[in-house]
């Protein structure tokens, strides 16, 4: 090492805070829920924002925060699918392990502005993870009265792919919301709806002009869901969606997440549909 290295503690935007994994819950074969504690206190995120998760020695990955900002606990939750090298390494970690956290970053589902409105949530697969932050926020006891009708559509490939099974069971039974779920492919025990998520649209009953629609799912899903939204005449300005990109820096420099001229980590990941609909690279 040469003697010109300047050591500083926190002057750089690239330095993560060391955080502790408080608990780990296996949600499905591929997804785990990690409860994370920061020494500095609450993360202070908004629904839909993401953090850069550092597995020391392995690398960093952008992960959406899954818990609502108004949760009672000081901790926050990340629902992570095991798919790349960082998420695979994260899945190896247990309670008490240290990871690094930068953020929260990016735009968010503006639930404050949606007060008084109805909301339609459309979640496909792991897309439920970022939406859960907004869903659990508006369904919290102190917030529920501030919102009108809440409709949730949730589609997964097979019944064993449902995330947060206990919470989903509660949602299925809640009387103050309309909750519809579906699987692409049923198993012997599945009694519910079978079909892709768009097949749930005939079931919904919403006031399209007063409803904000929030979409998150795999890239293939968006266009078909948008077609349904158009066919029931949901105004384009009332649709927001969260997009996945490979954020390497999270601070609008590295270029990896760029969608045409937009840095997804800065001007996304949550976009108004009307803003990105003419961008070829959006989806």
């Amino acid at each position: 090492m040469n003697n010109n290295l300047i050591s500083t503690n926190n002057s750089s935007i690239y330095v993560p805070e060391i955080a502790t994994i408080k608990s780990v819950n296996q949600l499905t074969d591929f997804e785990k829920l990690f409860e994370i504690e920061l020494k500095s206190g609450r993360l202070g995120h908004k629904p839909g924002q993401f953090v850069q998760v550092e597995i020391f020695g392995v690398g960093e990955a952008p992960i959406s925060v899954s818990s609502p900002p108004n949760s009672k606990a000081n901790t926050f939750e990340l629902c992570v699918r095991r798919v790349g090298n960082v998420t695979s390494a994260l899945h190896q970690l247990t309670e008490g392990s240290k990871i690094g956290i930068r953020g929260p970053y990016g735009t968010f589902f503006n639930v404050a502005e949606m007060k008084g409105k109805d909301i339609l949530f459309v979640a496909g697969g792991i897309g439920y993870a970022p939406l859960r932050s907004a869903i659990n926020y508006v369904l919290a006891e102190e917030e529920r009265k501030n919102y009108g009708k809440i409709t949730i559509l949730y589609g997964v490939k097979t019944p064993s792919d449902f995330l947060f099974q206990n919470e989903i069971n509660e949602l299925r039974n809640r009387k103050d919301i309309d909750f519809f779920d579906t699987v692409d492919k049923a198993d012997a025990n599945w009694q519910g709806h079978v079909g892709v998520i768009t097949t749930l649209f005939p079931k919904i009953n919403i006031d399209t002009n007063n409803t904000m629609t929030i979409i998150c799912g795999p890239p293939i899903m968006y266009k078909f869901v948008l077609l349904e939204c158009r066919s029931i005449q949901i105004p384009e300005n009332n649709i927001v969606m969260s997009l996945e990109r490979k954020m390497k820096c999270g601070v609008g420099k590295c270029g990896h997440c760029q969608i045409n001229g937009l840095y997804c980590c800065q001007e996304g990941p949550v976009f108004d549909y009307s803003r990105i609909k003419e961008m070829e690279e959006a989806l």
Binding site: L5, S12, H256
Partner: protein, 348 residues
Amino acid sequence: MSFKYLPKEKAQDFLSELLKTGIEINAPHKKGEKFYTFEKVTDPSEVVFDYVRTILPPKKYFLPQTESLVEYDLPVTKVESKIDSKPRILFGVHPCDLKGIFLLNKAFSDKNLDSNFVERSKQTIIIGIDCVPDDNCFCTSVGTVIPKNEYFDIFLTDIGNGYLINIATEKGEELIKGISFIRNATDGEIQLRDEFVDRKNNMCKNKMDVPLSELPLIFSGVYNSHVWEENGEKCVACGRCNLVCPTCYCFDVIDKMNLKLNEGQRIRQWDSCHLEDFTKVATGEVFREKKSSRDRHRFYRKFYYLSKYSPSFCVGCGRCGLECLADIEIVETVNRLSKEYNGTSSKV
């Protein structure tokens, strides 16, 4: 701030004086038969004052090919930022590269200031030098013929028997102060510089058919042009254009452990938007799958997406066209686009 004069026979002595400050100097050196590179100066006689372009632009002194951003112990108890920076004199930078450094500074000191880049920038004294364009240069088309004073500390122009020295900053004044063979310039010598600039304005044969001010309009309408398909068919997606570009600054970030497994680093390294994996997410989706869309992306970063910093993020150095294995060249591409543009093409 002021104009001075340096006699040509004292040019090497000037560098020797600068070396006496103890500050590392980096300047153009000859490499092989026909190439030039920025290297550390140990012998002033090896420094080349008249060259056309170096293989790599001097961006490597602000954004090294690879650098450590963060270092930590394993298992982790401490995480620290790392900035490998020291005082430096960058000598012999051409107007295009000066603009390149200026633009990178803007991008890295904008919102979310990048302290690694900015710290190096603060510690660097930049001495530019004027040049004579070759057949690949197109500074006249992108407004980089003569640098603004904010791009440098000191700027030299060859005016025959000596160099006119334009000193733009106090750092520059400080550096020149006390060098006995540098004297105040006369009005006639400043006049000679102006005459050179006038000539240089007409020197580039490689020219865009449209003025710089019209490029945003053209690029707003050629997103779906067949020109991108044509370029994409030729492009081999090697990424050379990105590496030699004075203003390509996209990077990758990776972690590395030492062999003892007790320390790790987060490392930043140059990356290329022409490589297929550049936009790949963990689940395998690639958001710019075609070479044509990646080629287009680079052009749009130069002439459209980053216009908040400058009307052109391309500085006209000619490196990418010269290095391209498929003969894709900026001016030729822009001219084909402008020909096609008639106000009816698709929007971005």
